[in-house]
């Protein structure tokens, strides 16, 4: 135990050297019990919420976001370092905890928005964190001005030093104490002009890569706590089912098992505000004992209200609704569809089926929680630390200011961790057990109890006049709605499945977008670029079909529809405008890069697609061939305009990874339900793409842009699947209209 005590003392000692929160973060980020004091130093000065400077001029910058692989731990501190005017090589980055505070104006966060969703981390931080860096720099300059008795506007900064007109220099380290005592400016100081950037726009490697490749990084799953028991939960496999009978006598006999606790699930239709399923937790001294204890439970379940739900029945219901079994909800209506139909020369129709998808983060969900009488500590891989804090508050009554939420680097997110059901479970187990709890999810738990990307069928129709111009566009979608057990939020029933203003809205005079809700007990959630991956496949496959049916070039047809470069209103996330010229540009460049329109004699097919997602513009193209029943991807090209790029290496990684995610998912991934139970259990049933199937390279081209950054975590996914399906058509004349592709392709070839 002495080691543990020593660790605690050192932790407290460090915490006393500087203002608390940041140092807590340091402790967590390093998490190597042999290093903290020495590496952190003991002469730190805090300047604003994000920056600490040591006397020896080392700079520590706090990273406020949830790092789920999208690169914010590198990109956000780059913004601060840029305006602070320090050398990136001198910067150490630490993870900040959740910064909830209560002010006279109400709840707030001393670090700003810390969640990870909607590709908003960089756009939200673009002005805010540069201003934080500029403010810290301003304070250091004021301190130097006092020291030298010179006007501040005669001083300049460079590489962590303030420089006087006569060449005298003072390091930030020497000025930090004095700077910390100066009041910050009323207005944020002016920011650098982009041509003065020395860090923003420079290819920058993952800042903590060395910790990752040496195994020192602590993910949520790697947090341990003295005295904590490990919990594994047996959850009802049936949607909204409940526990009927339980015999835990064998489980309690398993060596290392300490307790078995009931965790009640929600009632049907009750808003989601806790665990996702009815369950039984096994508490043990370690994970293996907990798993063995769970295996020894004898539970019988009642099937609940969705016992007849199956993927086949959902598809039948969706098609029935689309065949005229209901009016649906108007998503957007423009012009006069009847008149357009009368004047049409061509009419093309097609339906596309999209499966449920699981997030399958490599690190399964989990949480480490310590509940005290009036305070709580949570360490977990999160995307919504605010949601986690609210959840703990709701379930325990502990005031939010007394809930310490510490985010770690997360083993993937993709939207799964926007929900905090796993935090709720850990809280309920810890409350019942009266002990700190480390909740572990297995892969089976993860695939069977996710918030799935919705299932649905898209029915598209277009009419064209004799000059082959698209005169009307119909997009009717019947899907299990994204809103699931909504808790006070006012979401529209089609939110997360269809967006009123997405392409080609505003570009075709006559438009009908309609949504039909298919009832389902499957939990639904946000899955990377949520509604865009859900509908872009149908829109961008269909436009290819329209081009082929009317003997037009698929790129030229898209460009003709986009028309003159202009901004058209866009009410969804990523608006307020959609710039047709920026989408046309990525499409044109992508076509050029892949060699679109060049005659081929090798049997390879080329397909292309483009999409506007959350403010970013991306086009994909693939070159494929079919050998036997196998698909070979010879080339993958992605062109992205995501505004000004903070870290080119990071954006390239997101486009490469997004493309592979899009392809991996489109080729083989589907969650299916039968008799009210998810059928997939582990990776053998949910086969993520492996190295052997992945394209050897993804050619990424980033458009040089001066627009404000859009973020980059999600844009690389939506157009990948339709571009691939279009390429398969070009190679085979087989049109895949149902995902995943491979089972369909093998059926049709």
């Amino acid at each position: 135990m002495s080691g543990i005590d020593r660790g605690r003392r050192r932790f407290l000692a460090v915490a006393l050297t500087a203002s608390g929160a940041l140092v807590v973060g340091v402790r967590l980020a390093l998490a190597d019990d042999d290093v903290p004091l020495e590496l952190i130093g003991d002469d730190l000065t805090q300047i604003g919420p994000f920056v600490r400077i040591e006397r020896d001029n080392r700079v520590v910058i706090g990273a406020r976001g949830c790092e789920i692989g999208q690169g914010v731990m590198t990109a956000l501190p780059m913004l601060i370092a840029e305006e602070l005017d320090v050398d990136w090589s001198e910067v150490r980055v630490i993870q900040l905890p959740y910064g909830y505070i209560e002010t006279d104006e109400g709840p707030s966060n001393k670090y700003g928005d810390q969640g990870a969703g909607g590709s908003t981390s960089v756009p939200d931080a673009w002005k805010e964190l540069r201003e934080a860096g500029a403010t810290a720099r301003w304070l250091l300059v004021q301190a130097a001005a006092r020291e030298w008795n010179l006007p501040a506007d005669q001083l300049r900064t460079e590489s962590g030093q303030v420089i006087a007109p006569d060449g005298r220099k003072l390091t930030y380290g020497a000025l930090a104490r004095s700077a910390a005592s100066i009041d910050p400016p009323a207005e944020p100081p002016p920011l650098k002009k982009p041509d003065a950037f020395r860090i923003i726009g420079k290819p920058t490697r993952v800042v903590d890569a060395r910790d990752i490749v040496t195994g020192r990084t602590r993910f949520g799953i790697d947090a341990y706590f003295a005295g904590a028991l490990t919990a594994v939960i047996l959850r009802c496999p049936y949607l909204d089912g409940t526990l009927d009978t339980l015999d835990d006598s064998d489980a309690r006999q398993v060596a290392g098992v300490r307790d078995v606790i009931r965790i009640p699930g929600p009632k049907p239709d009750e808003p989601f505000s806790g665990p996702l399923a009815d369950g039984v937790a096994v508490l043990a001294e370690n994970t293996w004992a907990a798993i063995r204890g769970r295996n020894a439970l004898k539970a019988a379940w009642k099937q609940g209200p969705w016992s007849k739900e199956s993927t086949g029945a959902l598809a039948a219901k969706a098609n029935e609704l689309l065949d005229g079994g209901g009016d649906g909800v108007a998503v957007r209506r423009d012009g006069d569809m009847a008149k357009a139909a009368k004047q049409s020369r061509y009419k093309i129709e097609a339906r596309y089926e999209m499966p449920f998808l699981a997030h399958a983060t490599m690190e399964p969900p989990g949480a480490l929680i310590d509940l005290k009488q009036d305070s709580a500590l949570l360490i977990a891989s999160l995307q919504s630390p605010g949601g986690a804090s609210e959840m703990i508050n709701r379930l325990t009554g502990i005031p939010r200011t007394a809930i310490d939420v510490r985010m770690t680097r997360a083993g993937g997110g993709f939207g799964r961790r926007l929900e905090n059901d796993f935090v709720a479970e850990a809280v309920l187990v810890a409350k019942a057990a009266g002990k700190p709890i480390k909740l572990m999810w297995t892969r089976e738990d993860d695939l069977q109890h996710d918030f799935y990307r919705p299932f649905g069928v898209h029915a598209l129709a277009a009419t064209l006049d004799r000059r082959k111009k698209v005169t009307s566009w119909t997009h009717r979608c019947a899907a299990t709605p994204r809103p699931y057990r909504e808790n006070g939020r006012k979401r529209r029933i089609f939110d997360g499945c269809l967006e009123p203003d997405d392409f080609p809205a505003g570009l075709v005079a006559n438009l009908d977008k309609t949504f039909f809700a298919v009832p389902s007990g499957m939990p639904r959630g946000w899955w990377r670029a949520p509604l865009h991956t859900f509908h872009a496949f149908s829109v961008q496959s269909f436009i290819d079909e329209v081009a082929i049916a009317t003997k037009q070039d698929a790129v030229k047809l898209r460009l003709a529809m986009l028309g003159e470069p202009r901004q058209i209103p866009y009410s969804g996330h990523g608006g307020p405008f959609f710039d047709t010229g920026r989408l046309a540009n990525v499409l044109t460049r992508c076509a050029g890069r892949i060699g679109w329109g060049v005659g081929r004699s090798d049997g390879h097919g080329i397909g292309i697609a483009c999409h506007f997602t959350f403010g970013g513009y991306v086009a994909h193209a693939f070159e494929v061939s079919i050998e036997g029943s196998d698909l070979r991807i010879h080339r993958a090209v992605v062109v992205a305009d995501v505004g000004r790029v903070v870290n080119p290496l990071g954006v390239e990684a997101q486009m490469m990874g997004g493309t592979i995610d899009g392809v991996s998912t489109a080729l083989r991934l589907a969650i299916t339900v039968k008799d009210g139970e998810v059928q997939q259990k582990n990776f053998p049933d949910y086969p993520l793409m492996r190295m052997a199937d992945a394209p050897q390279s993804v050619e990424v081209e980033i458009v040089d842009s001066t627009a404000d950054p859009s973020g980059a975590g999600e844009m690389g996914v939506p157009s990948a699947a339709p571009a691939l399906a279009n390429a398969i058509y070009a190679a085979t004349t087989v049109r895949v209209r149902k995902l995943p592709i491979m089972p369909e392709l093998r059926r049709m070839l």
């Binding site: 998490a31 994970t287 083993g411």
Partner: protein, 175 residues
């Protein structure tokens, strides 16, 4: 406070460690350890829960994803399926034990090629690559494609480049 090794699993012999249950001896990153708990416990959980060597990751528990890859007597093995009674008597290298005074060339190549995104699978990928390069110092495309570790972020193209870079570096070092 966190991540302290469990003191019950101390390196070297313990005086009271008499059977039953049998004490299993194992070498991890060059140090001897003993396990007197459930002999069916997979090596993964001994590494993580007992020794707090958390660089070895849990991903699936069925040997499908490779996040738990370690080197067993120098060869890549999936520790989630390896019970302690089978692991005993062998020498295990985890990601924490791969670097000596300097990083292993594969680790350096991973940094150079900026491979990690979320980073969770990368310890397993690196150890799979180390194993591959021992068997195939100049790996071809098919050799690289034989690595079956999963990466949910889609870092495969950079993994591929990092393996080729490490191969070059290791060949150059031999000369």
């Amino acid at each position: 406070m966190q991540n302290e090794p469990d003191r019950r699993a101390t390196p070297a012999a313990k005086p009271h460690s008499v059977s039953p249950p049998a004490v299993l001896a194992i070498t991890i990153n060059g140090k001897p350890y003993e396990h007197d708990g459930d002999p069916t416990m997979p090596l993964l959980w001994f590494l993580r829960d007992t020794l707090r060597l958390t660089g070895t990751k849990f991903g699936c528990g069925v040997g499908a994803c490779g996040a738990c890859t370690v080197l067993l007597d120098g060869k890549a093995a999936r520790s989630c399926l390896l019970p302690m009674h089978d692991a005993a008597g062998h020498a295990v290298t985890t990601i924490e034990g791969l670097a000596g005074n300097a990083l292993h060339p594969v680790q350096s190549a991973w940094i150079e090629e900026d491979v990690p995104q979320c980073g969770y699978c990368q310890a397993g990928q690196i150890l799979a690559a180390v194993d591959l390069l021992q068997r195939k110092p100049r790996p071809g495309e098919e050799d690289i494609a034989s690595i079956t570790n999963l990466c949910r972020c889609g870092t495969y193209p950079r993994i591929r480049r990092a393996i080729l870079r490490a191969s070059e570096a290791m060949q150059a070092a031999k000369k």
